[in-house]
Symmetry: C2
Subunit: 331 residues, 2 copies
Amino acid sequence: MSSPDDKRRTIRDVAKAAGVSISTASNALNGIGRTNAETREKVKRVADELGFRPNALARGLLTKRSHAIGMLTNDTYGRLTLPMAAGVSEILVDHGVSLFLCATNNDPRLAKLHLDALLDRQVDGIIFTATRIDLEPPPELLKLGIPVIYAFAQGPADSVSFHPDDAQGARIAVQHLHTLGRSRILHITGEQNYLAARIRADAYRELAGPSGQVMFGEWSEEWGHSAIDTVYSQSGPKPDAIFCGSDEIARGVIDALRDRGVSIPDDVAVVGFDNWEVVSKQTRPPLTTIDMELKELGHRAGLAILGLSRREKLEPGIVRLPCSLVARGSA
Amino acid sequence: MSSPDDKRRTIRDVAKAAGVSISTASNALNGIGRTNAETREKVKRVADELGFRPNALARGLLTKRSHAIGMLTNDTYGRLTLPMAAGVSEILVDHGVSLFLCATNNDPRLAKLHLDALLDRQVDGIIFTATRIDLEPPPELLKLGIPVIYAFAQGPADSVSFHPDDAQGARIAVQHLHTLGRSRILHITGEQNYLAARIRADAYRELAGPSGQVMFGEWSEEWGHSAIDTVYSQSGPKPDAIFCGSDEIARGVIDALRDRGVSIPDDVAVVGFDNWEVVSKQTRPPLTTIDMELKELGHRAGLAILGLSRREKLEPGIVRLPCSLVARGSA
DNA sequence: GTGAAAGCGCTAACAA
DNA sequence: TTGTTAGCGCTTTCAC
């Protein structure tokens, strides 16, 4: 639990051991200022030998940059947040910046608590993340005095946000189905009050033309199932392809189709949305679906907050990052 | 992006505005030392008015406690980590402690990088988290000089670890099936090289008696499916209940049983393990399963690291936290 | 009860 | 090129 040398080495120890002054040691270690190459090497070697690690607290106190950023999320389940957080972290760690994770659990009190803590810690910036792109951030976030980036969440007008390109994602799904020669494509999706659902539906309608039909419902497997029941209990022509608003819906659709003896993808091709592998790899046949590239979203958000924290200017607005199609067996 | 008063208030500002010295202000705000009640109130009021927030960097530098702890995880997907992290964070935030999230992505280089960063930041402790209880932590973690807690991961002999009580989880699953009057219970589970799988299987065997049969395989839906195919292609008596090592396996099992016209739970009762709702709520019928109470695991890990960071002593060893049974329709 | 002063570990003028 | 000095914002003796 405790190492042999319980007290940590300071730059003072390094300076003394190397026979130089503290400031020379500092200059040498940071490679700035005018330092003799020999001295620099020596200081670095000594620091290494001593296992010296600079105290980030002291450095931050002085430079007014903590080299830490906070990530505020309302997601406790992790489906969206952790891939993004991993992406953010991947970028940051290479720049010596660490990430505070704050799960607000959708509780404004917790959000405030976390926000205050982040401010106390002098974070260089904050990334706000949500489980839907039209979720508004806590109002305190707006007048903070430090940079904020919105990822998979709705930022105010003059802010920088990163979203998956839902419209493009919907388009490549429909185009893929067109390529397969399908023309009677149905769109079964989630709740209409989700902006993402509306964006995807609009993009779908543009490509599917007047025959395009959208069924809004819930983000659940069950809805996919019952939507198929509805469709097949009606008379009239049946679709030859179904574009679903989520993998879970798609799974319900696939199960319901199989129950009816409809062959996938021969009779009906199915495309999902999310590439949530626990679902999309397990349907029968495995699901062709749209991946939102959440890790890449995290990368971009990380890069952006890094830039802002260095006082670089960023064009405000929503950056929409392309989705990709993952072809499996269902379409 | 930047507030009207761009510069942050310091304790100096508070002291000046309250007409007291810096040290009195400090004493008053922290409620320590001998301070006149009136003075204290006044200082606090002024601090509030000014929107004063103490600089955690400065405080940490002086007190040698950063009030931050690090969480190291090899999980990028989030299924296990984020519920635990949320639990940890919930505890910490109420104690004014923040959480650094470090996703190592199973890459030793990244792990080292993150570990160094955490040390530089003077974290008061580290929680190591993994996706399986027999995953060994990076060796650097062992000789660190700061407290470490292992959650859902394998700690060294003299450390404190928190695991789900896999044996107890398996027992309540089997007992539940016994209560339902089932006696020919089969256990279909994941890879035998997972410690958790072996622990659960052992506990199952103890209760199921000599007729107990364990089928090890993979942690996949597909394996559940093919296991059922195997069982039903053999002659001999069929099980009246199946205890599955994961919800995904259970889903495969349920689907395969339904394909064969076996009624659930009438002919065969099915119990899963994980309570991963995207799976367990969506099977038909919904899955009765074992919940590992990951958030509670996070709570306990958080409490433990808090204690250790205050130099409290903790009994070394593995603390196994009880699982709970979530009854749905399948058993 | 309150304030002056020292200093945590480090960086950044400036002087030497 | 190197060393001296002055802090960053806070806590904490120790006089008063």
